[in-house]
Subunit: 240 residues, 2 copies
């Protein structure tokens, strides 16, 4: 059965899509079959993994597509996800909608990675209800730290509905030259030591340039600090 | 009558809150009375301008509060904004809800700045319907560029409902040492020359540190490149 990871944080621009795309790329190297679900109406993961795609979203027609990368398939996003989120709010299954749609695929894949939009509305909640693990990318900045409490308390609320994925925190865009970043890392490791992953993703402009060539960091700059950090993340995830 | 600016972009982490807080700070220096409306459930603008606030959102009780900064008042955010967005979807006024709530305040203030969450749902749409200007902070990165088309086409759709604010683009987190950033700036200025503001906000870690002391960039590092760029933005806005 697939191990399902929801990559989520309502704080915007913290590296959710970057983590889904690059983690999928390294996991697929160890001969694991990966399904990426793009639950973000922005469709950034779809634009890198399935460039030129202009069809329906996974929530519309339950279809997945092979990509030109071995072992990686995708359930794509589309603009219709904004309306879909309203429909899910009023459907019978509500937060279990995505989980039901994924059932036919759970035996076929080793990992399912779900990219979430920057909110705590129905699309991320559906991802939490499907997930074994919620991976929270956390930028070492003040506003991002503030938001951590909100997503953690939402996950506590969902526990009452028997939605209880485990939670890991991934420090992203880490700039070790900045005292500010080092202080935040120390604070996180003190408070949430067992949930904070050992791997830290550094600030690396190569990571930001790669998607403009529809490439993962491994394909664009395999020896970069960014690439090596996502390689180590994939090992940490595989080893559980 | 107040000039109303919605600061919006569904792409996350591009500097929306940073722009609202720091533009409000510089506009208030030129003896303009400023009202900030925090339409983001994250409440980042509220945490800097009204630290320790723990009450209802502006959408709940229509209340505004003076801050400890001369000439700046705020209609705060709260977690209830997530539910409020669902209620607005089903209300009679729909996208005109915020505009009606602002009516009692339009004579009292020179500028009203609305911070938006990273989406194209009802909260940002309400801000567009209230605004004279939609200011789109744009990070010079690939995913952010991709998103520009989505918000521009949403604004074109709203034009049919007589919601027609003007639009300006503000380049943020600009790193002139990166060829990647320079290329994106050139592309934007070619395609959207009349909408792209002259002021460019540089990447400046002081901007990211200031909110951890509940300070604006002017208060934290007045001589920094970040501070000077927001000063020039306020002049560009005042001079229209
Ligand atoms: N470690 C890093 N170093 C440098 N740039 C990065 C890094 N990680 C991500 N980026 C860049 O920062 C921007 C934000 O990252 P990304 O879009 O993955 O975040 P997100 O959380 O998915 O955003 P959203 O909330 O809009 O979905 C992107 O332009 C991305 O290329
Ligand atoms: N010019 C800049 N240089 C360096 N850091 C910046 C700059 N502008 C903003 N930041 C920092 O980058 C992060 C993202 O900015 P901010 O939170 O203002 O974006 P946002 O668009 O409001 O995000 P969201 O989509 O989550 O609402 C914050 O931690 C902020 O302090
Ligand atoms: Mg994303
Ligand atoms: Mg914000």
């Amino acid at each position: 059965m697939a191990y399902i990871i929801a990559v989520a944080n309502q704080k915007g621009g913290v590296g959710k899509t970057t983590t889904v795309v690059n983690l999928a790329s390294f996991l697929s190297l160890s001969d694991k079959k990966i399904l990426v679900i793009d639950s973000d109406p922005q469709g950034n993961a779809t634009s890198v993994l399935l460039p030129e795609y202009n069809g329906l979203s996974f929530y519309d027609d339950f279809q997945i597509y092979e990509t030109n990368r071995k072992n990686i398939s995708i359930g794509p996003s589309s603009n219709s996800l904004i309306e879909q989120e309203q429909l899910i709010n009023r459907s019978d299954y509500k937060e279990q909608t995505l989980n039901k749609l994924l059932n036919p695929y759970k035996k076929e894949f080793d990992y399912i990675l779900i990219d979430c939009p920057p909110s705590l509305n129905q699309l991320p909640i559906n991802a939490f209800a499907s997930a074994d693990l919620v991976l929270i990318p956390l930028q070492c900045h003040y506003y991002a730290m503030e938001g951590l409490g909100q997503i953690m308390s939402k996950l506590t609320d969902l526990d009452l509905k028997n939605i209880s994925p485990s939670v890991s925190i991934l420090l992203t865009m880490y700039d070790e030259k900045t005292e500010f970043c080092r202080d935040i890392e120390e604070e996180i490791r003190d408070f949430l030591s067992d949930q904070c992953l050992k791997t830290v993703i550094p600030q690396d402009i190569q990571i930001a340039i790669a998607p403009s060539y529809s490439k993962t960091i491994l394909e664009y700059a395999p020896l970069s600090a960014g690439s090596r950090s996502y390689a180590s993340l994939s090992k940490e995830i595989i080893n559980g």
